[in-house]
Structure formats: structure tokens, C-alpha cells
Amino acid sequence: MNDILAVRTSESPQRAASPGEANETLLSVRDATIQFPAPKGRKGAVVTAVKNVSIDIRRAEKFVILGPSGCGKSTLLTAMGGFIPLSGGAIELEGRPVRKPSMQTVMVFQDFFQLLPWKTVRANVEFALRQRWPRMPRGERRERAEHFVDLVGLSPQLNQYPHTLSGGQKQRCAIARAFSVSPEVLLMDEPFGALDAINRERMQGELNRIWEEGRPTIVFVTHDVTEAVHLGHRIMVMTEGPGQIRRLLDNPHVGMLPYDTQGQESVAELREMLIPAG
């Protein structure tokens, strides 16, 4: 399972910064501002979680949003998914405004409670498929579910219930489910955040491998610099306070191995950037 990943990454430690020459914009965020009512303040007082963010997510790229805890990454991502409204600006998917959640933008959450506990691994994936393609024949649905479960290396646990899975296995299942419905954009909010370091590294490699099949568009949120360099074709660094873009950079080291020295330089550079100014 991990051999595949090892071979792939060592074959091509450096990949073109962003896939697809067309650089076609798929999801565009225009001047997005997101505010919440202040927890216990005067009437009308607000907390600005995201301020004037504009980005273009390109088709078939892995776009990483990197920033310290509390800088508004999750808020921005949930807004991209249509879960929360914007206070200002616009978010468009292929030119159409995103108003509510849909299966075009499927989310993978950080926590382990995103699987339906009363459904097996297979049934969790099939549930999503049934929602996506209600008329898909049974056999085809089964096959497709099995394929994606296999893709994340969860075949042995196909008929297990979520509570019998490890944290990493739960996230694999969630990823299989999200990938199986072929959304336009996959929104991943620190899906490996609750895993231990070794498991996290392994899952990053696996995600790169899975992405190769079908090359979906992924927006990946993390506060882990190494993770960002490992995964993102492009990395957007957010600052604290009101969440704003600090920098947007191409990452030539996507898929790098942990001991890749060039990659390490980027890591150090990014780490520097995350240290609050002043």
C-alpha cells in the first residue's frame, strides 16, 4: 500500500508547479469578507474572521490554505462550500454564485464524527453515491463504492462500522466517500489534523497518490508547513487578526520526500512567514 506511494514520490519528487497548461479558473473568491457577531459585545459588534480575500482556484490543482490557528481558514473554506454566507464579496463556481452547500463542493472535515455510525464503510460511500446518482444501478454503485474504498486502502475494513476503525481509517473512509461522488471541488479542512505525525505523513503521500487518479480540484486547509509543501501546487499563506492573504506562492516541491533539502528550504521560508510580524 505504501510502496506505491514511495515509488511514485521518488520517481517524480518535483512536479510542475500547477497542473494543466490552461490554468482555467474553477472556483473564484472575490473580495470575500466574513464576519460573525461578537461573542458578548454591544449590539452590532462583529468579529471579522476573513477580510478581503480574493483567490482563483484552478481546475485540477491542489491548493493549500496555510495559516496559524484561528486565522480564518476553516471559515473561508466553509464559505467556499456554501455553508455560511459572506458578509461581503462573492464566491463563484464556474461563474455561478455559491449560495448553499451542494455535491459540487464536497467537504472532508477534521473531526471523526463525519461518518454515519450506523453505516459500514461501504454503506457510507454508497449513501453518498445514492444521493449523487439516485438512478445508478445497484451493481454499479457497489462496484464504484468498492473501487474508492480500495483506492484509500480500506478494503479489509469494507464491512466494518466506523466505531471499529482507527482515526486514520475513519479519515480514509471520509476521503473515499468524498472522492467517489466526483465533486468539482474537494474541500478538505485539516483532515489529518487529528492524526499522529507518522500517520499524517503517510496520509499525505496517499492523498497525492489518490489525486493522480482523476486529478480532482482540491482546496486543502492546514496549519502544518510541511504538509502544505508536501501537498500544494500552490500555497496561500494567511495572516492572523482578520484573516487576510499574506502571500500566494507556487510550490515546486509538491510531493517532496521529508529529506528533500530543497523542500526543506521552502518549509523554513514558510515557517518564517507564519511567525507574527513585530
Partner: protein, 278 residues
């Protein structure tokens, strides 16, 4: 009880297997002990049969009443009572789901339901029986009405708790996969609320069962049919005390059976899915 262990050894069971089945045997042993006490007390002190018949006599009356060496009259009474409770049960469950389903969608609805539940839950619904007779006459409807009134409020209360404790991530998942209101109810809310719901169903059944027996005692026959409560009361009137005790035994046994039925349901649902500790 000291001989049981030696018996177990003699039967070829090793001590560890014995310690495994021991917890399961505890309850039957206690029941047998109580029954033996009952029998011994009646026989030793020569308690008059018209006050308190011996267990063995009651058992004979029960078996006869069930049709072995006699008229199978108990079945009809028991079924009559059970059918009223079951009908009321179905009505209550549907009513509770609908009421709670509406309540969770609006603040007013929520307040209304919690107020009404607060009014009716502490009220022993048997107190409504005279009014029910006024409205529905001496009919099955009157019985169903009071039984529903005893079951629906604890059910609604437990469902409210169940719905309130659905993991927010699962609610987001439902929105992400474009579930309709009904779909979210069916696929997310109800299964998530199942542990609480089973608790409510248990409590509801208990209330309903007590109410129906009490109602029949007060009420006598409903039209042509009469239930087990009526049978118990009638036995007293005709000084067939042993038969009356057999009736009580039936009520107790049904209580036992439903309780184990709930445990079986839990084993195949919430325990199996890891939603409740076994």
C-alpha cells in the same frame, strides 16, 4: 447456591467458563429464589387461598388459562390489551416524531412543545380517563387516547434531547449531500437520535402499559372486548383470586419480555454501531 459451582464442575465446565455464565445466571437464580420464598411462605403459614394463593396454584391457573388442560381464555384478554397498547404506541411514535420534527424547525415550535410536554408529562394520564369517556364513550378510542397521552410526551421529550445532540458535522454532511428536510430526518436525525429514542420508547412503553392496565381496572369492558386488567378485577369480584394472580403474572411476564426485546433491539442497533456502550 454453593452446590451450583460443584454442579458446574461436574458438568465438565472449567471455572473460567463458569465465571462467564455466572452473570447471566444471576437473574434467573434470584427469580427462582423469590418464587421459592413465596411458595414456602404460603405453605408454611397456611395463608388462605382467597388472600394469597401459592405460586404453584397460580402457575397451574396460568397454564390452564393459556389453554393447556383448560379454556384458553387468557390469550384473548392479553391480546386485547396488547393490541390497544400497540395501536397507541404506533400513534404515539408517529405523533412524537412529527411534533418534534416541526418543533426543531422553529423557535416558537420548540417552546410550544416543551411547554405542552411540561404540562402533560407530570399528569398521570389515567386522570384523563373520565374526560375521555365523556368524549369517546366507553370505547377502545377512550383507552387509546389515555394510553397515547401517557406515551407521547416522554417520547417527544427524549426525541428532543436526541435531536439536540446530533453531531453538528453530521448536519453539515446532510446539507453537503443535498438532503431534503425529510431526507435529513430519515438519514441523519432519526438514526442519530436512536439511543435517546430507544430510552424514550422504553419509558413510553412502561407508562402505556401501566396506564392501560389501570384503565381497564377502572373501566371494565370496552364494548364487547375486555383486557387483562378487566380480567384481574373480575377475578376479584368472583373470588377467583388464583386466576387474578395468574393475570398479574401475565402482566409481569409481558413486562419482562418487552424489556428483553428492547435489549435485543439495542444489541442490533446502537450497541452494534458503537453509539452506546454495551
Amino acid at each position: 447456591m454453593a452446590t451450583t459451582e460443584t454442579d458446574a464442575r461436574a458438568a465438565g465446565l472449567n471455572p473460567s467458563a463458569f465465571s462467564e455464565i455466572m452473570p447471566r445466571l444471576r437473574k434467573p437464580i434470584i427469580v427462582l429464589g423469590l418464587v421459592a420464598l413465596w411458595e414456602a411462605w404460603v405453605r408454611l403459614f397456611d395463608v388462605p387461598e382467597l388472600l394469597f394463593p401459592a405460586f404453584s396454584d397460580v402457575l397451574v391457573a396460568l397454564i390452564t388459562g393459556l389453554g393447556i388442560g383448560g379454556e384458553p381464555i387468557l390469550w384473548a384478554y392479553t391480546w386485547q390489551t396488547l393490541s390497544v397498547v400497540l395501536q397507541a404506541y404506533v400513534v404515539s411514535v408517529v405523533l412524537a416524531v412529527v411534533l418534534t420534527g416541526f418543533a426543531i424547525n422553529s423557535a416558537w415550535g420548540k417552546e410550544l412543545l416543551s411547554t405542552v410536554t411540561g404540562i402533560f408529562q407530570p399528569l398521570p394520564s389515567i386522570a384523563l380517563l373520565p374526560m375521555a369517556v365523556l368524549w369517546f364513550g366507553f370505547s377502545k378510542e377512550s383507552l387509546i387516547f389515555v394510553v397515547v397521552m401517557s406515551m407521547v410526551w416522554p417520547l417527544a421529550a427524549s426525541l428532543t434531547v436526541g435531536f439536540a445532540t446530533v453531531p453538528p458535522t453530521l448536519l453539515r454532511l446532510g446539507r453537503n449531500y443535498e438532503l431534503s428536510r425529510l431526507g435529513a430526518m430519515w438519514h441523519i436525525l432519526l438514526p442519530s437520535a436512536l439511543p435517546a429514542m430507544i430510552g424514550g420508547l422504553r419509558v413510553g412503553w412502561g407508562f402505556g402499559w401501566r396506564t392501560i392496565v389501570a384503565a381497564e381496572l377502572v373501566f371494565g369492558a370496552t364494548g364487547n372486548d375486555s383486557g387483562i386488567g378487566w380480567y384481574i378485577n373480575n377475578s376479584r369480584v368472583f373470588l377467583q383470586i388464583t386466576e387474578g394472580f395468574a393475570g398479574i403474572l401475565v402482566v409481569v411476564i409481558i413486562g419482562f419480555i418487552t424489556e428483553s426485546l428492547f435489549r435485543v433491539i439495542q444489541r442490533f442497533t446502537t450497541h452494534r454501531w458503537g453509539m452506546e456502550a454495551a
